[in-house]
Symmetry: C2
Subunit: 204 residues, 2 copies
């Protein structure tokens, strides 16, 4: 059985829980608190030298880190990850964009606002994240105003990667009112028959 290490307050961990629910993957969840230094203990650093969650542990005892790498591993051979060379590359394009241009700002602003209480010394940093996060949302909006899903014509792990932090972007101060295509897409992803909300994921 798989073991996953993480904290459901993290969208990066929620991505993995959400895909596992879609795939009905049996697993054990080991809680690692992101706010009390548990990701930096020698025990956790042996799982991921970068000191972050999520981490996937295989039945063989091997560890895989980086949320989007875990999604690719779990989704391989399923309808959530196209085999086609072009479509697979496009899934990766969006996932790399998520990690360098979306998550650092959308999740980063949420962390500063929700978990650090937006202290004065981080106000300038928070404002800079607002601007860069909005640019990432504009790129998403452009794609989603033309297609129902980010890649192809069905839900893939590209959508799961972006859904995690986009659907709670308001917690980082982002207003999705100006992004109608994103809002329709959030409704589409969350009404999938195999969807699992973040609050429900927290329960088990």
């Amino acid at each position: 059985m798989y073991r996953v290490y993480g904290d459901i307050r993290s969208g990066n961990f929620y991505k993995v829980k959400l895909l596992m629910h879609h795939l009905d993957t049996p697993h054990e969840w080991v809680k690692v608190d992101v706010l009390t230094g548990e990701t930096k203990t020698p025990e956790h650093l042996a799982r991921n030298p970068n000191g972050r969650i999520p981490v996937l542990e295989l039945p063989t005892g091997q560890f895989l880190w980086e949320s989007n790498a875990i999604l690719n591993y779990l989704a391989k051979g399923t309808e959530y990850l196209p085999e086609d060379r072009w479509l697979h590359a496009t899934v990766l394009q969006w996932q790399f964009f998520e990690q360098n241009s979306h998550e650092p700002f959308i999740a980063g602003a949420r962390f500063v606002a929700k978990f650090l209480g937006l202290p004065d010394e981080l106000r300038a940093d928070f404002e800079s994240k607002q601007e860069k996060g909005k640019r990432a949302l504009e790129v998403m909006e452009q794609q989603l105003s033309r297609t129902d899903y980010l890649v192809g014509d069905a839900l893939t792990i590209a959508d799961i990667s972006f859904y995690a932090y986009t659907h709670i972007a308001d917690e980082g101060g982002f207003d999705l009112a100006g992004f109608p295509a994103i809002r329709r897409w959030i409704g589409r992803v969350s009404s999938h028959p195999r969807h699992l909300g973040m609050a429900d994921a927290a329960a088990g």
Copy 2:
């Protein structure tokens, strides 16, 4: 024939040129200057809505952006990208780590120092990038002190991703003297019979 859009001063573009040299991939290079706003023109935004390089144009006219997605596309089916599910996921793990924890700081510090001349107002940002970049180098060092390459026992696109900015980390103020395993690995990658140096890549 493939067309690639980019600027060889960018390590993200050099990754693509380096892999194409390894694979002997015929292509045409269209220069897009990263310092004069050419990545933000309507013409370039039609290729990549995120306004960055590199971009790969397929013979069909389709555009693929994000350097690591391009590497995965080009390397598919070759010795540079293992087919094995676990090894492929591990390549992706390193590439996502590169994009969220290495490139923003190693390349970011180089950009501030080399291309912006390290202005006073960016000094604090530069120092923060030093600290975070060093942490990424420590994670690399730990892996490379145990294995010759990042994944498996031969050069893969994971190494190409990291080589691009690591071998010029000194241009961003990083001293590799304390990272002997990284220095040996740089020697290993650059002595591959199909290697292409950044200066030679600039020539054509």
